[in-house]
């Protein structure tokens, strides 16, 4: 019995080996750690962990996530949306509103990666051994392989085996060295696909470390911020930390990393399919911007929905847009508010915002609604429609007076009504103004648009892309490469002076593809070896066990 040098990859579920444990409490601890490690390294455990990850992801799909949709989460907590307050409290308790930041999720990831590491270390070592010096195993059961063929040749046995070896070598099979087994009956043993399949699987799993490193480094080094810029605004926006409406700098991102370029939005093109069949579906969003670098050079460019602009390594994405009416409030001839408001869309197709004039005495606040398309009907009254295009804009507002309470945190587009008293309301077309009495006039000189940009720097995106490519590069051979082995013997028959060559093969995957490859190999071998002049008896037996009348092998080995 020869030793099998080219061992199969380690078992997915290694048997738990019992070792004699050290006595005492230390021994108990060591034994526990060892058992935990053993448990963690089993494939079955990895499966369970994948299942846990799946369940957590499922929960996070169904439950709204606070980092994504904070408003929905607030509504769920208040009980106005979703399953109600009791369930919401339970969701909060298990931390499912931020599932991907929860300790449970991070612990699952940690365990999964530990399990992966524990599984990959011995496998990588074994693979390295096979890849460096593989010794395909001999077989003592030549006749019992899936594919067996016999034929006769007039060549000497050594010559036949050498021909076979050369043929297999040309076809890139790994061969067992003929000197490996002194004294044993000469046999050609070859294998193919082991290194590729296992290597692919290893590459696939190892590339998850690349992805992990890419994500973590990206979190630390990256930056992303949001800002709204008004169309045609003469004041350009400068890329600095304070200029953003909101930003998420990574821990290793410093204020010096800002690029300090300036951006102006020259024009924002937006259009819709006006055919009522398509319900005002948008057809175009395009920002025309001018970017001025700190050195004074500037260029004009566009930012589109799928077409971000890269400036000094920072990507500018166009993510949001809205109408920006200019609202002027005058009190006793004194201008107390003059500026563009960045209105936000509501579900009804009306745009909402607020104008705040703390300079007035007392404070004046306007709660505003813009109807983009409100054409005047025959009676001279505006018709409110849900159409998004601004062919006949109408600005509706309610006036409040009192204390705006700006010292407390509040949204740009909402008023804190606690300190305010409603005074009256009005409606304005562009270019008009209205006198609200007590010396207060409100005017609506023009309507523009604003665009919400995201400016971000994600330095690890190329690394992540490389990781993703590695995942695919590993996955394909891991799933499609098939491991197969081949053996060949040659015995001389002294009575006829001929040599009987036996070729046997076995595929661990894709037996049908191997059958074709095997037939081709045997045919090539027979072509290269001199055939006897008159084949005695019936035609040489090329026996294919898969075409055996007996039931296929897979049925026999069923549990």
């Amino acid at each position: 019995m020869t030793r099998i040098d080219s061992a199969d990859p380690p078992e997915a579920n290694p048997p738990v080996r019992r070792r004699r444990s050290r006595p005492g409490p230390l021994g108990f601890v060591l034994e526990s750690v060892r058992m935990a490690w053993r448990w963690l390294t089993r494939m079955r455990t990895a499966l369970y962990l994948l299942g846990v990850l799946g369940v957590e992801t499922l929960v996070a799909t169904v439950v709204p996530q606070e980092p994504n949709v904070p408003r929905t989460v607030t509504a769920w907590r208040a009980g106005t949306e979703g399953p109600g307050e009791t369930v919401s409290a339970f969701i909060d308790m298990i931390g499912a509103y931020d599932a991907y930041g929860s300790p449970v999720f991070l612990a699952t990831l940690l365990l999964l990666f530990t399990s992966l590491t524990a599984c990959l270390l011995p496998r990588t070592r074994a693979w390295w051994r096979i890849a460096r010096s593989s010794r395909p195993p001999r077989t003592n059961h030549l006749g019992k392989q899936e594919q067996v063929a016999r034929f006769e040749t007039t060549a000497e046995p050594e010559e036949a085996l050498a021909t076979g070896r050369a043929l297999l070598g040309r076809r890139r099979w790994r061969l067992r060295s003929p000197d490996a087994d002194p004294g044993a009956e000469p046999q050609v043993a070859a294998e193919k696909g082991h290194v590729l399949r296992e290597g692919g699987s290893l590459l696939f799993h190892l590339s998850f470390y690349v992805l992990l490193i890419g994500v973590v480094l990206g979190q630390l080094l990256g930056f992303s911020g949001q800002v709204g810029i008004i169309e045609g605004d003469e004041h350009s926006w400068t890329e600095t930390q304070v200029a953003y409406w909101s930003s998420a700098p990574g821990r290793w991102w410093s204020g010096d990393d800002h690029r300090r370029f300036e951006v102006t939005l020259d024009r924002f093109d937006v259009d819709w399919h006006r055919d009522p069949a398509f319900g005002g579906q948008p057809s175009l969003f395009l920002s025309h911007v001018t970017v001025t670098h700190p050195d004074g050079s500037s260029r004009e460019d566009t930012v589109g929905g799928n077409d971000p602009l890269v400036v000094d390594g920072m990507k500018i994405h166009q993510l949001d847009w809205g109408y920006a009416p200019r609202v002027v409030i005058e009190e006793d001839g004194q201008v107390v508010h003059d500026g563009f408001l960045t209105l936000s869309a509501t579900e009804e197709g009306v745009w909402h915002g607020a104008a705040k004039a703390p300079a007035a005495d007392p404070d004046i606040g306007l709660d505003l609604f813009l109807v983009p398309y409100a054409p005047t009907d025959e009676a001279g009254r505006p018709q409110i429609t849900g159409a998004p295009w601004d062919d006949a804009p109408l600005l509706l507002f309610r006036q409040y007076v009192g204390d705006l309470r700006l010292e407390a945190a509040q949204g740009v587009n909402t008023l804190d009504l606690a300190g305010l008293v409603e005074m009256g309301n009005g409606a304005l077309r562009p270019g008009r103004s209205v006198d609200l009495g007590e010396g207060v006039t409100v005017s609506f000189p023009e309507l523009r648009r604003w665009v919400g940009f995201q400016v971000s720097r994600r330095p690890t995106v190329p690394l992540l892309l490389a990781g993703a490519v590695l995942v695919l590069l590993g996955l394909v051979p891991a799933l499609y490469a098939s491991r197969r082995r081949l053996w060949m013997t040659a015995t001389a028959d002294p009575s006829t002076g001929r040599t009987t060559v036996t070729v046997a093969g076995r595929a661990f995957q894709r037996p049908q593809a191997f059958a074709a490859e095997y037939e081709d190999l045997v045919r090539a071998l027979r072509r290269e070896l001199p055939a006897p002049a008159d084949p005695p008896g019936p035609s040489p037996a090329s026996e294919n066990r898969t075409s055996d009348p007996r039931p296929p092998r897979e049925q026999v080995v069923r549990r």
Partner: protein, 398 residues
């Protein structure tokens, strides 16, 4: 008739009818191909039915492709914009995959009937989310979209085939195991096992009839045929066994009604809610009738594995291209949006299936259950997340 109307007509009824008749022909072929192995194969009714089924399936594919082309001309873009178009392409993938891979490459035409059934169900679901051809939102106007959506629909179609095989494997495996247990109990007699459960006169008559029909005088062949038929009867009978006082098909039906009702709630169509349990019952009955004619359980298992192994890298690629497109379009490669999350969940589920296949003690039935769960996750990703959970993939606003 406008182009859009022609396109709709080509889809329903033309494509649907062609696929349905093709499915029936394939099912007929499955049941009657193996009547007599010694006779001239081409002359058998079963083989003629298979050729008819293939012809109808090819005609169905042609009509389907014509529908997609006319629809794209009508809307002036490639049909990858909404759920109906996605489902339609997914079903086309199922039929094409079945014809090319299963029938042409693997020579496994006997399960084609069920593959077409899977395609028909996908198409039926697509009708529930039917939308007239419309222009595309500008945010969807990207090369990555074409690649991402194509890969997703391709993978989803092949996964659907995999699900069909997994389900058939579990069914056939259950039947085979029970027959094996009974045969054991009857001292190795399959004929005994065939009548172990409920030996009705009808069953017996059928067995005698099929044996008597044979004009082959060879006693060995007769014995073989008798054995085959007894095994088939035993398989079907084993599935009709009582379990906890409920007959097995009823158990499947009850479970299916629960699942299907959930599905119907997702679509919120009353007609669907009423029709679906009936359709499910019909499918369960069909599966029960077909179980003796299916390939062996291990063959079905291997077919399921090979299909899923084919689709998994495509799905992986699709998720990666999705991330690339998200980076280009939304300014981040991964944002835990419900759709991204559930696509990842589907990936994890199918990775679980592949790992289960490689884990000792989970091969076979365990792995198949993983495959079934993974497909449910895929359907959840597709329908529930799209229709009930709002995220960026709902394409509302910019």
């Amino acid at each position: 008739m406008t182009l859009a109307e022609l396109s709709k007509l080509l889809f329903s009824p033309v494509t649907l009818l062609l696929y349905t008749t093709s499915m029936l022909a394939y099912l007929y072929a499955m049941a009657f191909t193996k009547v007599d192995r010694s006779a001239d194969e081409a002359a058998l009714a079963g083989n003629r039915a298979r050729i008819l089924g293939s012809a109808l399936a090819v005609a169905g594919v042609a009509a389907h492709v014509a529908h997609i082309l006319t629809r794209s001309i009508a809307s002036g873009r490639w049909p990858r914009g909404n759920m109906f178009e996605f489902s339609s392409i997914m079903a086309l993938t199922v039929v094409l995959g079945g014809l090319v891979i299963l029938q042409w490459r693997m020579r496994r035409a006997e399960v084609m009937g069920f593959v077409l059934l899977g395609a028909l169900i996908t198409l039926g679901l697509s009708l529930l989310v039917y939308a007239e051809p419309a222009p595309l939102a500008p945010i969807l106007d990207s090369w990555w979209r074409a690649i991402h959506v194509s890969a997703i629909s391709l993978a989803a179609g092949i996964f659907t085939m995999g699900f069909v095989f997994n389900a058939l494997h579990l069914l056939r495996d259950t039947a085979e195991r029970r027959v094996a247990a009974r045969t054991e109990a009857f001292g190795g007699s399959t004929v005994g096992a065939a009548f172990a459960g409920t030996p009705t006169d009808e069953d017996h008559d059928q067995l005698v009839d099929t044996v008597a029909e044979r004009a082959n005088p060879d006693p060995d062949a007769l014995h073989d045929a008798l054995h085959d038929d007894a095994y088939r009867l035993a398989l079907r009978d084993a599935l009709a066994d009582r379990w906890l006082g409920v007959r097995f098909p009823w158990r499947i039906a009850l479970g299916s009604i629960v699942v299907v009702t959930l599905f119907s709630l997702t679509f919120q169509r009353t007609s669907a809610t009423l029709a679906m349990p009936l359709i499910t019952l019909a499918i369960v009955g069909l599966a029960w009738w077909a179980v003796p004619y299916l390939p062996s359980a291990s063959t079905l298992d291997s077919l399921a594995y090979r299909t899923i192994v084919f689709a998994f890298p495509i799905w992986t690629f699709a998720v990666i291209t999705g991330a690339i497109w998200a980076e280009q379009s939304w300014g981040r490669y991964w944002g835990w949006d419900p759709k991204e999350t559930s696509a990842f969940l589907t990936w994890v589920a199918y990775a679980g299936y592949l790992h289960a296949r490689a884990t000792r003690g989970m091969r076979g039935r365990g792995a198949s259950w993983f495959g079934i769960v993974a497909f449910c996750v895929l359907m959840f990703t597709y329908f529930v997340v799209n229709l009930l959970i709002t995220g960026l993939h709902s394409y509302a606003g910019l």
